[in-house]
């Protein structure tokens, strides 16, 4: 077993795939610098920088995928999908349906997401709930290096459009690039288990739509993803001391959702606490409630999510994003 950082793992899996499949190309703003290792290994033809025009290059990625390439299109941050949502909503996600199943757009969109380092509300969103609302998109949110690499590989073998959201707190590269690299005076609440970890000798694709149980528990089930998985695990340890046994299920993919495992775990405990860094309403936390109710399961439910625009102030931000304290309080409530 090797050890890798989160971003190393994604890039390493991508590099492995690029070595095998010459159809994979990578482009986005500043990519020559940001993916310089890939550029040097695979050459400037396959690793390209783009103008600041997301609608053009994401839209081009969709069509290039239809025409036989396998583009990995990088967005600077998931928040900026606002300027080019059309390419995903009305094109990538619909090609397969529109063509009567005869044509697909196998592109991978890579975007940093998430907050906790003080960049403010236009740069720290999660938005996977919004993206997963669109039929035809696969949405991946890994929480560990091993998952990040394995899911990247799976994305590159998928027959339709896939979005991989990489949390900036898990990525030393992003934090260093966004300013921490120049100063030792800031520190963020970075989950160790997510930023570094063991990875397989050779990458194998992980199945898409399979959640994984990070911790077993019999009193309540915490379902989460991304950085929040680590917050949930921390909370579960604290809760254990209080005699509450909390399981933690890591979804890994938002869409497709692993309904089977979700239901199985909630049946076990009868209590669900969703911990979701994305906005609370009309998103993942609601969908989980629906899916379990549809299965005819009776359970108690609570959620800890982001309820408003993320504040700039580090202090306010930490309160607004799901934190260990909020998770513990919600869990205690749920046990009453």
């Amino acid at each position: 077993m090797k050890t890798m950082s989160f971003i190393q793992a994604v890039d390493d899996a991508l590099a492995q795939a690029m070595a095998e499949d010459p159809h994979i190309i990578v482009f986005g703003e500043d990519i020559p610098l940001l993916r310089r290792d890939l550029l040097v290994r695979f050459g400037p033809r396959r690793v390209r920088g783009t103008p600041i025009s997301e609608s053009a290059f994401l839209g081009a990625g969709v069509a290039a995928a239809m025409a036989g390439l396998r583009p990995v299109v990088e967005m600077y941050m998931v928040d900026f999908l606002g300027v080019c949502m059309d390419a995903l909503l009305n094109h990538a996600a619909k090609v397969e349906a529109f063509s009567g199943g005869k044509w697909t757009a196998p592109l991978v969109v890579r975007a940093p997401c998430g907050g906790g380092y003080g960049d403010g509300g236009q740069h720290e969103q999660s938005l996977w709930g919004m993206l997963a609302h669109i039929p035809g998109l696969t949405v991946i949110v890994p929480s560990t290096p091993a998952d990040a690499g394995g899911l990247m590989l799976a994305a590159l073998k998928q027959d339709g459009p896939v979005i991989i959201l990489e949390h900036k707190l898990l990525s030393e590269m992003w934090l260093e690039f966004l300013g921490s690299g120049a100063r030792k005076t800031v520190s963020f609440d970075i989950p160790a288990g997510g930023t570094k970890g063991s990875v397989p000798q050779k990458w194998e694709p992980l199945p898409l739509g399979e959640a994984t149980l990070r911790r077993d528990g019999h009193d309540l089930t915490i379902i989460s993803l991304g950085v929040s998985v680590h917050r949930a695990l921390e909370a579960a340890t604290l809760l254990e001391a209080e005699g509450i046994s909390a399981g933690v299920l890591d979804l890994r993919t938002v869409s497709p959702l692993d309904k089977k495992t979700v239901c199985q775990e909630v049946i076990k405990t009868g209590r669900l606490l969703v911990v979701d860094e994305d906005y609370e309403t009309f998103g993942l936390s609601g969908e989980l409630a629906a899916v379990i109710l549809e299965a005819g399961i009776a359970f108690k439910y609570a959620r800890v999510c982001t309820q408003m625009t993320i504040p700039y102030s580090r202090h306010l931000e930490d309160e607004v994003l799901p934190n260990v304290k909020r998770i513990c309080t919600a869990a205690q409530q749920l046990m009453k």
Partner: protein
């Protein structure tokens, strides 16, 4: 090089007859939703599409029918699609605004401007997979104000992508005239985005062919994208049943529907000063009047008649061709409608 007028004529006629048939079916209610015809722009489409080869791609807008037919998509499967039939080109899932043929590397979209990014993406794939292949984007003058289209011109220019951007300029976006919605000059705009720009009157398919020919040669040789600005007149207006056109064609029936509301609005208490209301009324009238004066009513703008005139000397051949094509479309209709339960 000179184009073969006969084959250009054949391409245009085929599309025209097909779209005329579709028009009937639409009026009969057999085709659902909106219906945007390409009648009037066939000169542009034929002049460009006739030069495409295997491996070339097309990104189409809401008027993709003619381009697909001329590129060789099967008429029966296309008509099936219009009727929402499971055997349609897209299994009845797409309809006339969302036509896709993987085999022909052709994709349509009803999102104005999206042909730009799509053509850039097809061209990017061509750079890797089929050097010397190109991608064509077809779009209207209204689309030239859509950001993603301008962005994609710049992208194509900096990446030297093999794209021919074809603007079919009919001077309108639905009921809005371009001179009130488009500032500056489209050719300058394209040049400011790093493209070579050429202008042509799309009524003349042969002229379009010639200009497109040299543009496409340039593009195939890797010298980067070109902007082809081609004027045209859409003979049926924006889509079938466009209100302003209906008013023109049947004023006695259609005008009252519109006039009642307008008159009331002129008289209502509270609102703008009377003079301003009159200005408002005038501006509406002028858009109807603009449609009246619309060159679409002048046959001189029909590319099919234009090319036909040049072929008229060989009347026998012309008649034979026209008869054959009419029979073709007749057979297609029989094939397709024969199956439709009445």
């Amino acid at each position: 090089m000179a184009p073969d007028l006969w084959s250009l004529y054949a391409l245009m006629l085929k599309a025209r007859l097909f779209e005329e048939a579709a028009t009937k079916l639409w009026y009969e209610g057999l085709i659902s939703g909106e219906m945007h015809l390409g009648t009037g722009e066939e000169g542009i489409i034929a002049g460009v599409v006739s030069q495409l080869r295997d491996g070339d791609a097309m990104a189409l807008d809401h008027r993709g029918t003619a381009a697909l037919l001329m590129r060789g998509v099967d008429s029966v499967s296309l008509l099936h699609e219009f009727l929402g039939h499971p055997q349609g080109l897209c299994g009845g899932m797409g309809g006339h605004m969302h036509l896709f043929s993987k085999e022909h590397l052709a994709a349509s979209s009803g999102i104005v401007g999206s042909a730009g990014p799509a053509a850039a993406g097809f061209a990017l794939a061509a750079q890797y997979l089929h050097p010397q292949s190109i991608a064509v984007a077809f779009f209207g003058d209204g689309a030239m104000n859509q950001g993603m289209l301008m962005e994609s011109m710049n992208l194509a220019a900096v990446w030297k992508l093999p794209v021919l951007f074809v603007c079919k300029d009919d001077g309108w976006g639905i009921t809005t005239q371009s001179d009130v919605s488009t500032a500056g000059n489209l050719d300058d705009r394209a040049r400011g985005l790093g493209l070579l720009a050429f202008s042509v009157d799309g009524v003349d398919a042969a002229r379009v062919w010639e200009i497109a020919h040299s543009a496409i040669e340039r593009i195939r040789s890797g010298e980067g994208p070109v902007f082809l600005h081609a004027r045209c007149v859409h003979l049926e207006g924006h889509f079938l049943g466009l209100q302003t056109i209906r008013i023109l064609r049947d004023p006695l029936k259609e005008m009252p529907k519109v006039a009642v509301g307008l008159t009331k609005s002129i008289l209502k208490l509270h609102g703008a000063a009377v003079s301003e209301r009159i200005t408002g009324l005038k501006s509406i009238m002028s858009s109807v009047i603009a449609a009246l004066r619309d060159p679409r009513r002048d046959h001189a703008h029909d590319p099919i008649l234009h090319t036909r005139a040049a072929l008229q000397s060989d009347e026998t051949r012309l008649k034979a061709m026209e008869d054959r094509m009419e029979e073709d479309i007749h057979n297609i209709l029989i094939t397709v409608l024969g199956e439709v339960p009445s």
